[in-house]
Symmetry: C2
Subunit: 538 residues, 2 copies
């Protein structure tokens, strides 16, 4: 497209008023993404560095170079906003989380995850809100109680990506699923809280408002989950009915991607929590839809979703690093550097305190409900869970921008301080806490052997593709014949001796009797000789 | 993200001046895409309908519904522009074309493809330009010679997607590769021509200007190809060096996607032809890079690229269908409907004529260079090639918008007529010609058996994944030991008896001796026991 596509684009941008994303900016960004992947791979065995820190550092360095070349005018190359984050970057990350999660482990720890994710986030939210209201009263930035509540929601959103890169799903399954599940539920809770706060007037809290607030929160959680499950089941049903006997890998993969995204967008459209919806849609898709498609589609979706999530994550950290140096935001703070540092330190202290205030008590409560010692969360694991949620990341940034920069008013002193404090906390926690994570976990959790009781039954998730070999062997539940609902006695005995598995047993029975015959799933899609017939669509 | 993400987004949009893509628009579009995929699958065996026509029709129907619900104000839901098309939708389609092409067949027909794609497009360009200049002289729309040349370039861009959906790569390999190759080279030629015309002042053509014009065209073709090859080789080298002994499917897939896109963006940055660059990058990646990655990465990239291309195509046709009803464009034409219909008919006639004027003569020339009768293009095939290039599609639309609507001046009579004529021609040719394609090809080309001489050696492209089984069997060239350059005598004899294969033989020798040892490729990546070790990155 010779002779100046740049001017071509500028013309177009002027014509339609759309974003003037320039070719050189995209090119630079793609080069940076490639660099992050390569460096991340090379440093994989390094004890200090992880992928997030690499991306953040490269983003910071690029920001500095840009700042120098543009003579202090500009440090970021793409005019991004929270829309990009919430509409395009977050959905693939959360969907992939649901798609790849080990479902049995996740649901076994469902109580602990909900405790940490919902109750814990609320505790942290109150501590940060009330603490900051007490500490910043004399700063005279003109904040009302609603602003402090917003601060609480912003800094309750954890970013456990760093920790999850270090934890191993096979070595420490309990820890992994709790940290991971808490991360997802926490994302949803804090965003829902934040949006609810924007709508409710919480300057005068009455018991009536509080009850309605709690009710609408619960309603949101429930309907969002339901929508995700519904869209996931719909995708399973469509693909099962439509592709019976005539498969087309490209169409299957396309439909799965589009319907996953659809679930998120529908949640947004109905003002629900897209994060929760797309997460549960991912779980349902991996349980039913994934088993209805061709072998090639399975491999493709598994890795394509993981890659999309992976690129989105690097993208976010790169951008956060680059955006941190935006000179305009720092200008109005530079007059009172002491205040800014003080505010950041105070908030960071509240974050650390707020997390400690719920991790240890809630772990104690959670341990009371568990009988088997292997399922209890010991003290070292509690410290790991506490540490895992100290990082603050892109969700906090996006919420802070929405609250304090929504009309470009970073000139206002209070807003400017909050934006720069958020950036400082995100940078500090990701880089400093992130650097310490790997060594810390190595000290707390010496290399553990896989717990055999847990790993054997995880074969039904997309994590593992060795399924056909195991189908008649290790996993007793697979050999069940679903239509008549009978179950082998060994499996039954196992289930009866472990009472916490009873819910799972009834679910399994229900699943095999009613769900799988309709929606497909492992072992319920008839094998057609000569199939998959690959139709090439291009 | 409860309680009104819509207002959230509108706030953000106002803040950053970015595009206000609303959630409901995206949701509707995703629903439409899903519908197109499902209906396309159901109608696959239908003799009249193809996927493009389905998408176009659904787009038109949605446009009508939107027009009725908004009381005639608006028929499209997303404010799209040519940037979206050239920066995001076109690259995956062209890259996938290069990635999935049967390379040997493509290069064997390289002369014919270049003849049709470059010389043919130029002939068509001159006939449409000069013809329209003659016909529209009395219309008094204030067009200069430059505008007529632009018209020539706009209507030289063919859209062979419909035809390729009908032709079968295994049944009619010669026809497929010529139609397919011509389509890609034609896209590049017409876009390069169009951009060159915008830059050169062609109102006074001198021999000096013509020579410089031809020189810059040649230069563009050469450097664009070179850049694509260079980026492709770089990706192969990086992945070969970096992942030796330690594979990571997600990183490999991510790097391949990003570097493919990088090649396109770099070409745009250097004012080259991104279409040619990304096409050759795809070819090189499928020849080298694709063989350096894990088995899972191969399956994933093959289907992920095909799916991306597939979704982009449907997206384009949906959008064109929806955009066709934009009321503003039709308003200023409605006063003189006769002129508009006349212009459209005249242009369509020129398109048909311009294509006939080069397909038959150039086929004759091409046949002179071929000795084997099986390689000659017979008359029925010539008619098929002629028909395959009669459709006009998204490239014509994008170029016409750029030329005639670049400042929102569809109010100007001449511009408005040209825009509406382009829409009419795209709709008419895609729907009417598209409907006739399947029956026509069934008449012209009765079901043929695969030509065994061609299909046996195509195993090195990502089309086929049965590679390991054949490695020591059917394809004699695979068993060549590249480092010492020796070649089995049976293969040598075969190559010597077919003189047209001589170039290919020397290339093969060079490839095995110098290229593959450095860049990897089939059989040149050492197998590491225990590898691929899947590192899960999330």
């Amino acid at each position: 497209m010779g002779f100046g596509l740049n001017s071509f684009l500028i013309n177009l941008g002027m014509r339609s008023g759309a974003d003037q994303v320039s070719v050189d900016a995209i090119t630079l960004f793609v080069v940076l993404l490639c660099t992050c992947i390569i460096i991340g791979h090379l440093l994989e065995k390094n004890i200090w560095i992880n992928e997030s820190t690499t991306a953040l550092t490269i983003g910071l360095c690029t920001g500095i170079v840009l700042l120098l070349t543009t003579e202090g005018k500009n440090s970021h190359i793409l005019v991004f906003n929270e829309e990009l984050f919430f509409i395009y970057l977050l959905p693939p990350i959360i969907f992939n989380a649901g798609f790849q999660v080990k479902k049995k482990q996740f649901f076994r720890n469902f109580v602990a995850i909900t405790l940490f994710g919902v109750v814990g986030t609320l505790i942290s939210f109150f501590i940060i809100s009330l603490g900051s209201a007490q500490l910043f009263k004399k700063l005279n930035v003109g904040f009302e109680m609603g602003d402090y509540f917003a601060l609480g929601a912003i800094f309750s959103a954890t970013d456990s990506v760093c920790t999850l890169q270090v934890l191993n799903q096979d070595e420490t399954p309990l820890l992994y699923s709790v940290v991971f599940g808490e991360g997802v539920v926490n994302d949803a809770t804090s965003v829902v809280l934040f949006n609810a706060l924007q709508r409710f007037d919480l300057s005068h809290i009455t018991s009536g408002i509080a009850t309605r607030f709690a009710g609408s929160l619960f309603n949101l959680f429930f309907t969002s989950t339901l929508l995700g499950v519904a869209v996931g089941l719909l995708s399973a049903y469509i693909i099962k009915k439509l592709y019976f006997g005539r498969h087309s890998t490209d169409r299957e993969v396309g439909l799965m991607i589009l319907m996953a995204y659809l679930s998120y967008m529908m949640a947004e459209l109905f003002s629900l929590s897209g994060i929760l919806t797309v997460f549960f849609c991912g779980i349902v898709m991996s349980h039913y839809t994934w088993h209805n498609v061709t072998e090639n589609s399975r491999v493709t979706t598994k890795h394509a979703f993981a890659t999309m999530s992976f690129i989105s994550e690097i993208f976010i950290f790169l951008y956060v690093g680059m955006d941190a140096l935006d000179i305009e935001k720092w200008r109005s703070v530079s007059k009172s550097p002491g205040t800014s540092v003080g505010v950041s330190a105070a908030l960071l202290g509240l974050v650390v305190l707020g997390r400690a205030a719920f991790v240890f008590p809630l772990s104690f409560i959670s341990n009371l409900t568990r009988k088997s010692p292997v399922d209890k969360i010991d003290f070292k694991q509690q410290v790991t869970i506490w540490w895992a949620g100290l990082m603050r990341g892109a969700v906090s940034m996006a919420l802070a921008y929405n609250k304090f920069a929504s009309s470009g008013h970073t000139q206002m002193r209070g807003n400017a301080i909050m934006i720069t404090s958020t950036i400082s906390i995100v940078l500090f926690s990701t880089v400093v806490f992130g650097l310490l994570t790997k060594p810390l976990i190595r000290i707390l959790l010496p290399q553990q052997k896989p717990l055999s009781s847990v790993t054997e039954s995880e074969m039904s998730s997309p994590k593992s593709l060795t399924l056909p070999l195991l189908q008649n062997g290790q996993d007793p539940e697979v050999t069940m014949n679903g239509q008549n609902g009978t179950i082998r006695s060994s499996s039954l005995r196992m289930l009866l001796t472990i009472p916490t598995h009873r819910v799972h047993y009834y679910w399994r029975k229900f699943d095999n009797a009613y769900m799988r015959p309709v929606f497909g799933g492992r072992g319920f899609v008839q094998y057609i000789p000569g199939s998959p017939r690959e139709t090439v669509v291009s």
